[in-house]
Symmetry: C2
Subunit: 90 residues, 2 copies
DNA sequence: ACTTAATATATCATATATGGTATAATAAAT
DNA sequence: ATTTATTATACCATATATGATATATTAAGT
C-alpha cells in the first residue's frame, strides 16, 4: 500500500483527519519542495543556511513543519535554492 | 504603450530597477490575485475581513504591499476567498 | 454639494517569527 | 565500535506580525 492509498483510506474513515490534513497542505507542499530541491542540488541544511546567511537550525525548524514562516523568509530560502517563490490562490 | 511594454523599457534602461522589482514579485503576485478575486466575488475589504474574523484595516494593510505576511495569514485570506493557497519554488 | 461606502494609514498591546547559541539525536562513514 | 556529518530541538533576545481602534482620505452614490 502506497502512502497515497493509505491517505485515501484514512481520510474516508475520518473526515476530521482530512480537514486537518488539508489545513496544513501548504506547509507540507513547502517542506516537500525544499527537501527535494536540496537533494537535487546536493545541499545540506547547513549549506543552504550559509547561502542565505543564517544558521542550520533555522532551516531545520522550517522543515519540521510545526512552524509559521513569513513571506520574506520563504523568499530567502527560494533564493538559496536558486529558485523563485510563487504564491497562488486557486 | 501598455504597462508590460513600459516595464520592459524601464528594466532595459535600469537593471537595478529590474532587480528590485523581481525581489518584490511574490508580493505583487499576491496582491493582484487577492484584489482580482475580491472583485470577481464582489467582496469589499470589510466583507473579506469579516469572513475570516479580522478587521478591514488588516486587509488594506496586506494589499498595500509594504507588508510581510505570515503563511498562516495568507492561508486565512485564501480561505476567505474560497480558495486554496499554493506555494511553489520554481 | 452632500452623504455614504470603501480604502488607507497610524498607533498600540500582545503574540510570535527570526536570528543566534548550545546540544541532543540520528544517520552515514570508517 | 567509533567517529564524523547531518538534522532536530530547546531556549533566549530582539524584531516584527497580528489583532484591534481610530480616523483620514478617496471613491461612489444621491
Amino acid at each position: 500500500m502506497t502512502f497515497e492509498e493509505y491517505k485515501k483510506k484514512a481520510f474516508a474513515e475520518d473526515p476530521e483527519l482530512y480537514k486537518e490534513y488539508k489545513a496544513l497542505e501548504p506547509e507540507y507542499e513547502i517542506i516537500r519542495q525544499i527537501i527535494k530541491a536540496r537533494n537535487e542540488l546536493n545541499l545540506t541544511q547547513k549549506e543552504l543556511a550559509e547561502k542565505i546567511g543564517i544558521k542550520q537550525s533555522n532551516i531545520s525548524r522550517l522543515e519540521s513543519g510545526n512552524y509559521n514562516p513569513s513571506l520574506d523568509f520563504l523568499k530567502k530560502v527560494a533564493q538559496g535554492l536558486g529558485k523563485e517563490l510563487h504564491i497562488e490562490f486557486r
